[in-house]
Subunit: 204 residues, 2 copies
Amino acid sequence: MPQGQPSNVPEDGLTTRQRRNRPLLMVHTGDGKGKSTAAFGLAMRGWNQGWNIGVFQFVKSAKWRVGEQTVLERLGRLHAETGEGGPVEWHKMGSGWSWSRTRGSEADHAADAAEGWAEIKRRLAAGAHDLYVLDEFTYPIAWGWVDAEDVVETLANRPGHQHVIVTGRRAHPRLLETADLVTEMTKVKHPMDDGQKGQRGIEW
Amino acid sequence: MPQGQPSNVPEDGLTTRQRRNRPLLMVHTGDGKGKSTAAFGLAMRGWNQGWNIGVFQFVKSAKWRVGEQTVLERLGRLHAETGEGGPVEWHKMGSGWSWSRTRGSEADHAADAAEGWAEIKRRLAAGAHDLYVLDEFTYPIAWGWVDAEDVVETLANRPGHQHVIVTGRRAHPRLLETADLVTEMTKVKHPMDDGQKGQRGIEW
């Protein structure tokens, strides 16, 4: 993928450098594979730039653990040990948010999701991370557990230079409208259609 | 992304375990972002499973270096030092394939691409890697530098249990036909449309 050239230059009074350094709101949506994988790949890329990475997985299951968590947390420890790359935090709703006292309140995912978003708002206000991966965050919005307008307002007005990636199907129209970059992953062909189950290393 | 369940079970005489362990040919195509990023994310996931990873970038530029190369090569060294994960090799056409005597023959990308494919064929025959990332390999096929039928035949008949991911736009119809899993990344919105140039950590 070559370094892209803009197809046109806007008259927004910004220099190329200012425009280049604009923090991005990115959305990976659609029914295909690769939404989260590409987001975690960007986190790996950001780590390499020395960025402070925060991953927030809005998944219901505590057991579910993707290989990227192991690797990115390992990279975070590598940073602590050798100074390479940047720090990494990985938080998961299903196991109970690590900052929360209520551990995995199976009963009330809506409250868990709202709590996760409240923490992310605090971190955005404080400029805690350089890159936020809000994995599967489209669902709590779609289900009304988190208010879409609040999300859009907060993200649009976040201070400093914080990149945000939101992944998941059924992205809210307001989120798409607000995003700088939207990619839709479309399933053209998938082995599960042929009766194949997910497999280690490929699906997790 | 929860562990998927098959939508139907084929009568192919295979057990679920056999079917599950089928090596996959995956293609990431389309005009959107995330094709390579998701492939490198899968490589990170595979590394975590202890897989032997081979990345072959069919890019013309020797200078171009994505953050994932630094990180995956670092993970490869970590494997050598501590036994964590698996080994990683990263080869790039633009800088002259590392196994080749001709260093970056700027003049003849077609010959370079053919040489890269010849090496990959040897490795597939030998079962050298568990996961091959053939990054931007759609282009040498599209340009006729590498024969599409040869690619399809070789990949369809590769021995053992070797996963292959091919990335790039304009994937050849025969490749799509042969692939187990095809994902199309579609650009819905991109900041370069607004005159923004690519930026560090996001584009590379």
